[in-house]
Amino acid sequence: MNKVKFVTVPLSVLFMSLTAHSQDLDQKKSLEIKPSILEGKDKGGSTLGLEYQFSKNLLRYDVAPANPLQPDSFKSVTFDVAGTGTVALNSERNPKNFLDFVGSIESLYWSRNLGTFIGSLNGKFETDQSFKNKQGVFSINATFAKRNIFVKNGFFSVDVGYGRVDPRNDEARAAALQSQKLSTFNRWEAEVLYLHRTQNPTFDTIELNYRYFSERNAPLEIRQAGIAAHKLATIRLGIKKDFFVAYSRGSLPFNRKSDQIVQAGWSYKIQP
């Protein structure tokens, strides 16, 4: 049985999130920086971390519904930039050592009966916080989202992508292939999310998330090194009185270790 290696305690209740966003609803722009403590139990001690997230809409074209009060469908095309990641004072103890920056052109179609469909072309730069490992990814994605699925107010979403990865400086890949000249490869990626609303007296939400990355036709050396595929599964229980417990198992690209992460604490204090 694997030991729990990391305990992450978000400090959003202790630190103010640093937030700046536009007042213009149609031109969404936001930056959020959230401090947290990342503790590596097996590595002796904790380290301070920062989670960041930003997004900006640069261009949009909409076909507004004919009946704005009772819309049946809606279409739009947008150009957005965004980024997410977690950095720590000690990168070795960072259980989420993965940063990404994305630019995307999206076509969105919403239908009252069918749900939300998003097709997108994306250019993404991925790295870890040391920037020793980095790669560019160009991908095409399809995303589906639907509310009131299985239970009232429940939410389901799936995102599937196929892309070409340019590993400019990937140490583990170079070591596995015993070459500094790394060629591009193709990769599948998928994410499935389900948010369940319960009537349970203890839990009010159960959130399941699974992310999967798989290199297509990976060389034998890459498969033997165990870096041809990456999986990360997370379950999060939203508990009454503003508590939550989350458990993650697996890893993301550049985070080669197979970790289990437990997060616990207050997700928020809902009453301001």
């Binding site: 149609d26 989202a145 979403s157």
Partner: protein, 126 residues
């Protein structure tokens, strides 16, 4: 000037739809009474997904809840459009306005009320 959370139709409808067990059931009234609800950030509500940073999934969740919210508001109050026709004859896109608010976890419940108050005319405005 920031929108003032108060006892008008827009704020009451926003509160009732977000809190009501028969509507969106995003929080309990004992957790968040009406008087202080306007300041609560949307990322703390139940609909806001917390295990992903996937912008497309968050956008999908926002579109879906915005549509439900708009439908439920009209079950509480009879509303009309504030400005039925915009520049070059375009229709106002109430759904998109709401979705942009619901997609941003740093927005507040008062921001939701502001969005519908700007687009919809409630009975207390006639």
């Amino acid at each position: 000037m920031p929108y003032i959370w108060r006892n008008n139709n827009a704020c009451v409808a926003t509160y009732k739809v977000l809190e009501g067990d028969n509507f969106l059931n995003e929080f309990e009234d004992y957790q968040l009474p009406f008087e202080s609800a306007g300041k609560a950030q949307l990322k703390h509500l139940r609909y806001f997904v917390k295990t992903t940073n996937n912008a497309k999934m968050i956008k999908g969740a926002a579109m879906e809840i915005a549509a439900d919210f708009l439908m439920y508001v009209q079950k509480i109050y009879t509303v009309t459009l504030e400005n039925p026709v915009r520049l070059f004859g375009a229709h106002p896109n109430v759904l998109l306005k709401l979705a942009n608010v619901f997609a941003d976890g740093d927005k507040t419940i008062a921001d939701v009320a502001e969005a519908i108050d700007g687009e919809l005319r409630f009975p207390d405005e006639k």
